[in-house]
């Protein structure tokens, strides 16, 4: 049988999926082992044990100076910034996206401006934000919004344009006002696409969050890894990277499951990664 027609069983699929993860862990352990044979005090590739111990310490032992559990403090602060930023972006994406996609006059007025604005590399605005809003939370959240909103607005506007014209005309013949079409036709048709835009937007959002925290902050996952970098504390940095990845993965999974549950009509027949 040709290889394109051979499908793995569920168990094989699971095993195949785990294989690259296991290979990475094994390769790391081997490399770490031989490095520490040469130099037991090596800090570059700490053992899995010492990383687990460091992670445990961050999660359960209160910080000597502040008395905080640093991992949870960092996680909470980072997720709060990320969540607030993405919430603002979502509101902007829905309101402006629908206005641009649905109303030709608004489209003519805003689409070229938005296309230009979204080409500004958001990181270059960070100094301006720090100068304008100070070093507090506002500047970091603003960076996430500026970094994610323009692309999300454009993708929502495109999603409105992708709604078959037939449906909009049908709604008109059923006596719908513009507002009723927005609330009963455009918005529901858009929500599954919004989830996709959110999932894609979270990737740059994390980058901007970590960048902003690395430059000016007193807490947060990005702040912590850039802080302990000074002590070459790879035993903290590596678990933090894994932790951030895990958080990102769980957020993505959550959004996908929510979409499958809430928008059953949009997930029939088609399956995406």
């Amino acid at each position: 049988m040709r290889i394109i027609n051979r499908k793995p069983s569920r168990l094989t699929a699971l095993a195949l999926g785990l294989l690259p993860f296991a290979a990475t862990v094994i390769a790391y352990s081997v490399a770490s082992h031989y490095r520490r044979l040469d130099n037991p005090a090596d800090k570059l590739l700490p053992s899995l044990d010492s990383m687990a111990a460091a992670f445990w310490r961050m999660a359960t032992v209160p910080d000597r100076r502040s008395g905080d559990l640093l991992l949870w403090l960092d996680t909470f602060d980072s997720l709060w910034r990320l969540g607030t930023g993405m919430a603002v972006s979502t509101v902007l994406a829905l309101s402006l996206g629908i206005a641009i996609g649905f109303i030709p006059h608004v489209r003519s007025a805003l689409a070229p401006y938005l296309a230009t604005f979204s080409l500004i590399p958001p990181i270059t605005i960070l100094p301006i934000l720090f100068i304008t809003f100070g070093l507090g939370e506002l500047a970091k959240i603003a960076l996430i919004v500026i970094g994610t909103a323009p692309v999300m607005i454009r993708s929502m506007a495109q999603a409105v344009l992708d709604i078959p014209r037939e449906m909009i005309i049908k709604a008109e013949t059923l006596g719908a006002s513009v507002w009723q079409m927005v609330t009963r036709l455009v918005l529901p048709q858009l929500l599954p696409r919004l989830i996709t835009a959110l999932r894609l937007g979270l990737v740059p959002a994390w980058i901007f969050l970590i960048s902003a925290e690395a430059i000016a902050s007193t807490s947060g996952l990005g702040y912590r890894i850039f802080l302990v970098r000074r002590y070459l504390a790879m035993d903290v940095i590596l678990p933090y990277v894994v932790w951030i990845t895990l958080l990102g993965f769980l957020l993505d999974l959550l959004l996908l499951q929510a979409s499958r549950r809430l928008f059953r009509w949009a997930h029939q027949g088609v399956d995406a990664l």
Binding site: P164, E166, M167, I169, K170, A171, E172, T173, L174, G175, A176, S177, W179, Q180, T183, R184, L185, P188, Q189, F263, R264, W265, A266, Q268, G269
Partner: protein, 273 residues
Amino acid sequence: MSDTPKLSVQGLTKSYDGLPVLERVDLDVAAGSFCTIVGASGCGKSTFLRMLLSQELPSRGRILLDGRPLPDEPTPDRGIVFQKYSVFSHLTVAENLILASEFEAAPWTGRLFASARKSAFADIDGLLERIGLKAAANKYPVQLSGGMQQRLAIAQALIKKPGILLLDEPFGALDPGIRVDMHDLLLGLWQDLGMTIFMVTHDIHEAFKLGTRLLVFDKVRHDPQAPQAYGATITYDLPLDSPGAARSPEDIAGVIGAPAIDPQNQFSNSNAS
């Protein structure tokens, strides 16, 4: 008042970028007529239908409905069924059918709640029965077959009791056997509700079977050096309801250069008058 035709088309011309698609179309249609519209591909018959719907506006000439000019945009006095995307994919069958009454009852939310919603569902019970979708009332359109979707689309288009029903190749994507069922449903609804129907079709036998009046769109003038120089108009206007007056489908097929027996639809041959 009885002398006023239901719909009157006067000197209608439609051009795109200066090239006429339709020119000098004149037509008076009495209330309760079932006009079937045939013609070669690209002869402007769908454009004509879109102008009856006000989805597009005439370049010259005018269309009068009950003696008054048509509104400039689609309104509930004209229902429409497209070949595809006629129903709302994010609503179940029953929700699709109560949407029009929700629009009417709730200008701001566009939504009925609790007992009002329940009574709206009760109101469409008979309709669901009639179109054979009672068992599928809580399914989404993607879960329905093509024929079921079009039955839903027709029912939805008739909810507002439009005086005119426009059908743009509504059965073009259906299997021949299903089409015969759809013909029966459509003819039954037409006899009960007495609306005026305009139906564009590719299938000449369908046009003969269903219509009381057959309109053939074709170009009368042809410039071999500039094939696009002239638009199409109504070349044959045949009453089909008086016996003996009708020419055979094969004659008309010859006129518009279409095969007399549609290879995709040999079933309907036996149904032709």
